[in-house]
């Protein structure tokens, strides 16, 4: 789960990391008032779950409260990579002597939290990794011991030469690691970590993603979820216990299991179509999930054909069939549905579907081809 910069900064602030003061605004008037309270120069920053905010014109410097209001008026409502800006962060503008990068993520290969730090801050770290890998120092933290003091110092020492700055950065490394672990992050990034002309080390941008699987024990972090930042269909899907990702094609897909769902989307493409979504109804056999899935898929106006691909193992085909029939009674479905069911209770399922007037297949390739054809004809 991604959270906004202003929320990430709150988590950092709570961990003790120096972050310039600021607050979030939803209107130009509010932005003016915050700028007034902060005094001096401020930055008005779009709060959306996307990189490239600066390039898109979503980050502006203001030297007066009125200018902050004007910028907020321009930024609020603008669209950055398809996401509407509904909030801006108004924060003190710091003077910058140098910029560094500090990030932590879970390294899959070594299965450990991994620091990446670079004195080349304020830029895309993937680019630095590709063009100048020696500019990055990596440190994998042994989960048995956590971040050790000499390791934190080593990271800071890689970035700075001035002992006072090294000392401040050492503390920030430890604080960032605590924030990373304490909030079950999958990513925590300070880019840039700056040094001011007076030698203070501060985080002026923050990016945090939280491990979805850990949210059950972090209600205060779960509360940071911004439902505006995701398509409504994805919110509905999550609440119904479905995995769903919206795409741009016209073949709606409803599959059990993530791997089979991806393979089904790929096969749609192989046969010349485009999938409208990824949707995994999961391993359970709850007909209500099938109903919810069909509601979500049919709400997408691009969808011209709906494809079911169910491999019954734990999932029982007859339960899915019941769900399809149930959904067709509860909601109006004008889109043609093509169904493939095989495995556990396949015969019962085919009977249930036949009675309700649906035809079903048992081969994956034929049903995908049929769905692609139907979508093309529509």
């Amino acid at each position: 789960m991604d959270i906004h910069e202003y929320q990430a900064k709150e988590l950092f602030r709570a961990a003790g990391i120096p972050v310039p003061p600021g607050r979030v605004a939803t209107s130009p008037d509010e932005a003016r008032q915050i700028a007034q309270e902060l005094g001096g120069k401020v930055v008005v920053k779009a709060q959306v779950h996307s990189g490239g905010r600066g390039k898109a014109g979503g980050v502006k410097l203001a030297s007066s409260p009125d200018e902050a209001a004007t910028h907020a008026g321009a930024i609020l409502g603008m669209s950055i990579r398809g996401l509407e800006v509904k909030r801006v962060l108004v924060t003190v503008a710091e003077d910058i002597a140098s910029e560094a990068y500090v990030g932590i993520l879970v390294d899959r290969t070594t299965q450990r939290p991994m620091f990446m730090v670079s004195a080349e801050g304020g830029v895309d770290i993937e680019e630095v990794a590709a063009t100048n890998p020696d500019a990055i120092r990596k440190l994998r933290v042994d989960p048995r011991y956590g971040l050790l003091p000499h390791q934190a110092y080593g990271l800071a020492n890689f970035l700075y030469t001035d002992p006072a700055q090294v000392k401040q950065a050492t503390r920030i490394m430890a604080q960032l690691y605590e924030a990373f672990i304490g909030n079950s992050c999958s990513l925590a990034e300070i880019n840039p970590l700056i040094v001011t002309p007076t030698g203070e080390v501060k985080a002026i941008d923050a990016k945090v993603s939280i491990d979805e699987s850990a949210l059950f024990r972090l209600p205060e972090v779960e509360a940071l979820r911004d439902l505006d930042a995701e398509p409504a269909a994805e919110t509905l899907a999550r609440e119904a216990g479905l995995s769903f990702v919206k795409l741009d094609g016209n073949v709606g897909c409803c599959v059990n299991g993530a791997g089979l769902a991806m393979a089904t989307m790929d096969l749609v493409k192989t046969y010349g179509g485009e999938p409208a979504n990824f949707l995994d109804i999961g391993g359970s056999s709850n007909p209500d999930k099938v109903v919810a899935a069909l509601e979500i898929i049919t709400a997408d106006p691009n969808v011209k054909a709906i494809l079911f691909n169910i491999f019954g193992g734990i999932t029982r085909c007859d339960d899915v069939a019941t769900g399809i029939v149930e959904a067709s009674r509860r909601i109006r479905i004008d889109t043609p549905i093509v169904i493939r069911l095989t495995g556990t209770n396949e015969a019962e399922a085919l009977e249930i579907l036949a009675e309700a007037g649906f035809s079903a297949f048992t081969g994956m390739d034929e049903v995908v081809q049929k769905a692609v054809d139907l979508a093309a004809q529509a």
Binding site: Q111, P143, S243, G257, G259, A261, M262, A263, G283, M364
Partner: protein, 295 residues
């Protein structure tokens, strides 16, 4: 022959009284797996009765199940909040093969649990995996027994139902399996592709391997390079997620393209460069395996 599980497997089911644990314990017993114990804290001394009438003693701890019943393998069906703890309990009790079915274990919990298991010299399969089945001998996990049949092909995969799809097609074509192994769809897992390929390579009965991967991470790429160097038997590969957009988690917590890394194209290229025959459609897996076996 087979890998990881066979007729010496003595299974303890952690979370045997839960909804999933009880259902699958019955399924495993019906398949012929020796389920020797169950563990549910607070229910020690009771018995679990399977659908076929078999009775399994329940203990409070895995340690007791090992001491009393000689359990050497565990299957974990406990909820995500307790699953990492259950894995470490198993390793601490001397279980040498731990299969974690549970989906949704926090990743940071797993970084600790995976290290703990390694430190004790045990092997972890999963989490968020369907387990393993050695057709005709034993199954640990949730893979439907009826789609498998004994034979010469090893199957290893990050997914559940996609594996069933491939295995069912093999079985329908008369091509049996030594062992089918689901390594799981999480970013931090125990046994990986290389571990499984190594085990298949050492198994005299496995004549070819099917490796089913998906987007996210570099496990497939590393396994492909390893196989070229160390594996004497042919590998047929499949990668799911060619149409997956970057930065989005596709159901499995580990199925995500981060930046420009972990794409299907990258993995398919690694397969091809290392002599692995790549199936473009799931149905092609069967045909490529048939060619490998020269049948």
């Amino acid at each position: 022959m087979s890998i990881f599980i066979d007729d010496s497997t003595r299974l303890v089911v952690q979370g045997i009284t839960g909804r999933d644990g009880s259902f699958h314990t019955s399924q495993m017993l019906e398949y012929g797996t020796r389920v020797v114990a169950g563990v549910t804290p607070g229910k020690g001394g009771q018995h679990f009765t399977a659908l076929n009438g078999d009775r399994v003693p329940i203990f409070n701890t895995v340690e007791e199940a090992v001491a009393e019943e000689g359990a050497n393998t565990s299957a974990i069906y406990v909820p995500p909040a307790f699953a990492a703890g259950a894995i470490m309990e198993s390793a601490d009790a001397g279980i040498h093969f731990i299969v974690a079915i549970t989906e949704g274990i926090p990743v940071l919990d797993m970084t600790r649990a995976a290290q703990f298991v390694k430190d004790r010299g045990a092997r972890l399969l999963g989490p968020n995996c369907p387990g393993a089945i050695s057709p005709g001998t034993a199954k640990v996990g949730i893979i439907p027994g009826q789609i498998t049949t004994p034979g010469p092909v090893g199957v290893v995969s990050r997914s559940g139902t996609l594996t069933y799809e491939a295995v069912a097609q093999l079985t329908a074509a008369g091509i049996g399996q030594t062992t089918c192994v689901g390594i799981g769809g999480d970013p931090v897992i125990g046994t990986d592709f290389i571990d499984t390929l190594r085990a298949f390579g050492e198994d005299p009965d496995t004549e070819a391997v099917v490796m089913i991967g998906e987007i996210g991470g570099t496990d497939e790429q590393e396994a492909a390079a390893w196989a070229r160097e160390h594996l004497q038997i042919p590998v047929v590969g499949f990668i799911a997620g060619q149409t997956a957009p970057p930065g989005r988690r596709m159901g499995h917590a580990g199925a995500i393209i981060s930046g420009s890394s972990g794409t299907a194209e990258e993995k398919i290229r690694a397969f091809e460069e290392n002599g692995i025959a790549v199936a473009r459609r799931p149905v092609d897996i069967r045909d490529l395996v048939r060619e490998c076996l020269g049948a």
